[in-house]
Amino acid sequence: MSDSHDSPTIPNLIKKFYFVGGVLVIGTIITFVIDIMFALPLALAAVLGLLIALVKASFVVAIFMHYKWDKKLIWITWTMVLTFFFFAGMMGLIMWAEGDVPKLDSALAISTGTNEMPTIWIILASLLGVALPASFTVFTVKMLSQPAPVEAAAPKARRTAKKKS
């Protein structure tokens, strides 16, 4: 068969799929029950709800999307990680500008003696903004500038099949 996975046998995979299905259903039920049983403050509810969603999402990406066995997707992983940092940095800056969430003013004032945001943070955030499109560009140029290699160069031989139960 194809491909880049050192994936387990199909019957084995199918078992994993059912397991993940179970995890997703249970995650949804937990979210639901928490919401109707407890009156949580918004911040806690947000953290809890998104944490459960994150766990569910990781299972979907790792198993359903067989990312776990597609290690060759390293470039995409890199892009996604950068996207995340960019996103987080951007959100942080905007929220700061909003002025109230998160309330970092006092902590900042104590540590630096000023309410101003240190310049280096702004520079770092901007660099993240540059890094993302740059990584895309580098990746694309790298992909397109290479002639398609000759058939014989099969990479799979280089890899030793790892045993996954």
């Binding site: 491909d3 799929f17 299905g21 969430v101 290699p149």
Partner: protein, 408 residues
């Protein structure tokens, strides 16, 4: 031209081309949805207490739909596993199950969730006095019907309104919710939320008051335009009306009257609309806006009053609202508030992805799509895998949407 690396992985990327392509596409999708998610979060944290109406969401429906989408995500990967084992029948079985789940998801969203919101209203009144008077009025109206007469009184209706307000904006009763409610109650910014059960619709008289010969329309053309607007299309009447004026139609509906006013205006006539009376209509109208009720027709509103049933009041809180007292009226449509604006944007975009997915799945089930299976099994399997990646992503988006929209 033969497309390279549809089956074998391309040596330098280690993936067959379609898989790399779909992952890049998903990376761009992450940014698209990421932008909307961050907008939502910023709008949410920036909202004043008492303005974010997430308590309106039906959690059970949301959780049910989440389950449906999870199931479809499982089925699609099982369909791929069957193909890997060379079992086309198994593939078809799971694929139909996936399609069924996707259709069910959209049916719940487009057939139930959205339409029920389009029939659900908030009404803001002009001032606090009107609001408070309405509660006594609601009591009298119910009492005069003789039903629940002993149970319902003004304070009860206030209780319903408070309960709706609290669950909607604060979920639980607290000091903050009490303060916000008292404030809204006093200054009249409180919105009544519920359904329009019936309304009094204007019956309109259309009268011709004159005709300008110098408007650039010939007499014949003017008469022709007039005949088209007459109930009985009689040419004799037309000439008389043009010269002497008079009633074109009596007690007609709004659309007919407005159409006549426009068409005749074009033909050089001056037309006066006036309200002859009101007719009670028993209906639950969709997507009404303020203007639909308060529009001025010859000095009177298009709808004189609406019969409004408050949410959760079990028919006890039925009140009549006069058009003159209504400041704003809106169904739960995108223009209702920031919350609904972003809610429909995000869920709409997600639903569009589900809809597109259904089309692709159907293609892959039809002979035209299945042809590839008979030509090249591995390529077809890879195609299904690529689609699966997209479908899991759609599921992923919903996994995050569910807590954000229904719980936070």
């Amino acid at each position: 031209m033969e497309i390279p690396y549809t089956v074998k992985p391309r040596p330098d990327t280690g993936l067959y081309n379609a898989k790399l392509g779909i992952w890049l596409f998903l990376a761009s999708e992450v940014m698209l949805f990421g932008a909307l998610f961050s907008s939502y979060v910023l709008l949410r944290v920036g909202a004043e207490p008492g303005t974010w109406s997430m308590g309106l969401m039906d959690l059970l429906v949301g959780a049910g739909n989440t389950m449906v989408l999870i199931a479809s995500s499982m089925f699609v990967v099982l369909a791929w596993a069957e193909l890997k084992q060379g079992n086309l029948a198994g593939y078809k079985k799971w694929k139909w199950a996936t399609i069924a789940c996707a259709v069910l998801f959209l049916f719940v969203k487009w057939g139930y969730e959205w339409p029920s919101k389009f029939k659900h209203y908030d009404v803001w009144l002009n001032n606090a006095t009107v609001l408070q008077e309405k509660f006594d009025e609601g009591y009298h109206e119910v009492a005069s019907h003789g039903e629940h007469g002993d149970a319902a009184h003004g304070a009860d209706v206030e209780k319903y309104v408070k309960k709706i307000y609290t669950t909607r904006f604060f979920k639980e009763e607290s000091k903050d919710s009490q303060l916000a409610f008292d404030d809204a109650w006093r200054n009249g910014t409180l919105a009544l939320s519920g359904h329009i059960n019936a309304y009094e619709e204007a019956q309109i008289d259309v009268r011709i008051t004159g005709w300008k010969a110098d408007a650039g329309v010939s007499e014949d053309a003017a008469d022709e335009a007039l005949v088209k607007q007459l109930a009985k299309q009689d040419t004799e009447d037309a000439a008389g009306l043009r010269l002497n004026g008079g009633y074109l139609r009596e007690k007609t509906d709004y659309d007919t009257a407005k159409r006549a006013e426009y068409a005749l205006g074009q033909a050089g006539f001056t037309v006066a609309l006036s309200v002859a009376g009101y007719k009670r209509v028993e209906a639950h109208p969709w997507m009404w806006r303020t203007k639909r009720v308060t529009e001025d027709i010859g000095g009177k509103p298009r709808v004189s009053s609406i019969v409004f049933e408050l949410d959760d009041s079990h028919h006890k809180g039925i009140i009549t609202l006069n058009a003159g007292d209504i400041k704003r009226l809106s169904a739960y449509e995108p223009k209702h508030s920031t919350f609904f604006g972003i809610y429909y944007t995000i869920t709409g975009l997600h639903a569009a992805h589900v809809f597109g997915g259904i089309l692709i799945m159907l293609y892959n089930m039809l002979p035209i799509g299945l042809g590839l299976w008979h030509r090249d099994r591995e390529q077809f399997t890879n195609r299904i895998e690529s689609f699966g990646l997209f479908w899991h992503f759609v599921d992923l988006v919903w996994i995050f949407l569910f807590p954000i929209l229904y719980i936070l």
